[in-house]
């Protein structure tokens, strides 16, 4: 890896953090986007795409809901891809590196959220004085500092870490590489389980099985399955609506719902 490439990837990390942390929600920070960019910088767009697909799968359930994110997929996918490609290694090494890097960087992120929280007492003072400019500065100040540090971390790890990492990875025996490969194929299960946890509804969960059957036996593409699901969803909602109109008093069996949930959590 040349110095220039390391600097460019540092800038990708800088931008990736701005996208992630601003909460703009444009998904430009997802592994499927970042890994191909890193691959392109390192002259191997193809590997970048392959790794991006695999990383997106394991980080699929990593979403920021209510401010808690289980892992920093941004740094994980940038460094995982960059290390793996520069060492001529495959997807399994990218994943094996991305997961711990993501976990480690998430702690850094939590530290930042904590430090910012200590600054929040200033906000009341500024609001009291009507100082719009100072609130703006407080709002944007820390993200820039964080992004610069973040970009530098990515740059420094690549500039000084590749040799070290290469020595480490070279010593890994084949059986472990195969094991990592098997694990990386299973890891998406965690992402899907997290999504299921978010979407779960005891009365609708059987649809999960429908999707599974449609994909397993009919090999339908995802858009077709989404279309079928949309149709079923609309039918259910229309049925609900006409049902509600007839009996407006018992529209939501709240108590029963709760009992079911408790039963499941048991």
């Amino acid at each position: 890896m040349t110095l220039f490439q390391a600097i460019l990837i540092g800038f990708v990390a800088f931008g990736g953090l701005l996208i992630t942390e601003s909460g703009c929600g444009l998904m430009l920070n997802r592994p499927i986007v970042l890994a191909p960019i890193v691959g392109f910088i390192l002259g191997d767009l193809y590997e970048g795409l392959i790794m991006g697909a695999a990383l997106e799968l394991i980080f699929l359930g990593v979403v920021s809901i209510g401010g808690s994110t289980p892992s920093d997929s941004t740094m994980g996918s940038i460094l995982g891809t960059a290390f793996a490609i520069s060492m001529n290694q495959g997807v399994e090494i990218a994943l094996a590196l991305a997961v711990p890097i993501g976990l480690l960087m998430q702690m850094v992120q939590y530290l930042v959220y904590f430090i910012r929280a200590t600054q929040m007492s200033k906000v009341e003072v500024y609001a009291e004085q009507g100082q719009f400019n100072k609130i703006t500065r407080l709002h944007f100040g820390s993200i820039l500092i964080f992004a610069i540090i973040y970009g530098f971390i990515a740059f420094a790890s690549l500039q000084f870490g590749v040799e070290l990492m290469r020595n480490l990875v070279d010593q890994i025996p084949q059986v472990i590489l195969d094991g990592l490969d098997a694990a990386s194929m299973m890891l998406p299960a965690v992402g899907f389980a997290l999504l299921m946890n978010m979407l779960w509804d005891n009365r609708l969960c059987v649809l999960l099985f429908l999707g599974f059957i449609l994909a397993t036996y009919l090999n339908l593409p995802i858009i077709a399955i989404a279309g079928i699901a949309l149709t079923i969803g609309v039918l259910l909602v229309v049925q609900d609506m006409s049902h509600n109109r007839k009996q407006p008093e018992i529209s939501l069996p709240q108590g029963q719902d709760q009992a079911e949930e408790e039963f499941f959590n048991e």
């Binding site: 942390e21 909460g23 703009c24 929600g25 444009l26 998904m27 499927i32 191909p36 795409l49 392959i50 991006g52 697909a53 979403v63 209510g66 401010g67 997961v99 959220y113 904590f114 910012r116 929280a117 906000v123 609001a127 009291e128 004085q129 009507g130 709002h139 944007f140 820390s142 094991g179 098997a182 694990a183 990386s184 299973m186 890891l187 299960a189 965690v190 389980a193 999504l195 299921m196 946890n197 509804d201 609708l204 649809l207 999960l208 099985f209 429908l210 999707g211 599974f212 994909a215 995802i222 858009i223 399955i225 989404a226 699901a229 949309l230 079923i232 969803g233 909602v237 609900d240 529209s251």
Partner: protein, 271 residues
């Protein structure tokens, strides 16, 4: 639709709210979460509707209170808060404290829809298409992913600003009462769960490499599983992980457990 008539000046305001919503989490923190982002996005509205210094201070205090919502639909509450600021400025009888109360009461239900639609449905479908292309080394993968997600996202995000501004809090309240929010959440859940089920089949993979020698016959264990149902093992694995998450086991523990299973399984020749 006569309900949607707004003056050019108001249109400019909603556009500013929309643009500013993209910086909602720049100062995200554990104490006030998106509070500063919401306040910063509200600056144009505060300047527009609060004439005196005292009014501006009051409005600033209101909007720097704790706030947290799915960013993609934050514009709805921005629009709504702006229209309520306008109402409070015009009608002195309205208690401005109601603005914050309604904001806070709507955060939860709106995030419920927002999370299941944007994180659980649009993103999963877009990722499903993008991943299957990227797996073949096709550069259209990430591009299609971004387009499939962001076209509905940006259209909805923009119109939510206007809807929030024009329809206001009353709309949300009635749609909560007549079940519209409930229906939308249900629709997102149906689509989300079905597509997740499909992706478990296509994107999780777990194969047993074990062969058992029974007399002359060599039995490939994976073939037996495939006879029962293809992808049976990935489905069981995902359900097991889901059950563990429901039981309160930490996600990181589960990831490590999968690494251990993969390594041990390969080592003893099971996988």
């Amino acid at each position: 639709m006569s309900k949607f008539e707004i003056t050019p000046q108001e249109k400019k305001l909603t556009r500013q709210l929309f643009y500013r919503s993209f910086a909602l989490e720049c100062s995200f923190n554990f104490e006030k979460m998106q509070a500063l982002g919401f306040a910063w996005a509200m600056f144009p509205a505060i300047h527009e509707f609060c004439g005196t210094q005292e009014e501006q201070v009051e409005a600033l205090k209101r909007h720097t209170a704790f706030f947290n919502i799915t960013p993609h639909i934050s514009t709805f509450l921005l629009g709504m808060a702006a229209s309520m600021e306008k109402e409070a400025a015009e009608k002195k009888t309205m208690d401005p404290a109601a603005i914050n109360a309604i904001k806070v009461s709507l955060m939860g239900p709106l995030s419920g829809i927002g999370d299941s639609f944007f994180w659980g449905t649009f993103r999963v479908i877009a990722a499903g298409v993008g991943i299957s292309l990227a797996q073949q080394g096709n550069v259209l993968g990430p591009i299609l992913f971004l387009i499939l997600f962001n076209v509905p996202h940006l259209v909805l995000r923009y119109y939510c600003t206007i809807w929030g501004y024009v329809l206001g809090s009353k709309f949300i309240q009635t749609s909560y009462e007549n079940g519209l929010i409930h229906h939308m959440t249900k629709l997102a859940t149906v689509i989300g769960l079905t597509t997740v089920g499909a992706m478990i089949a296509t994107m999780v993979s777990l194969n047993v490499g074990l062969t058992v020698q029974i007399g002359e016959m060599e039995l490939v264990v994976q073939e037996i599983f495939d006879q029962i149902m293809p992808n049976l093992l990935p489905l069981s694995l995902t359900m097991a992980v889901f059950y563990a998450i429901r039981k309160g086991i930490k996600v990181n523990t589960l990831i490590i457990a999968i690494f251990v299973i993969g390594l041990l399984g390969t080592f003893i020749g099971l996988l």
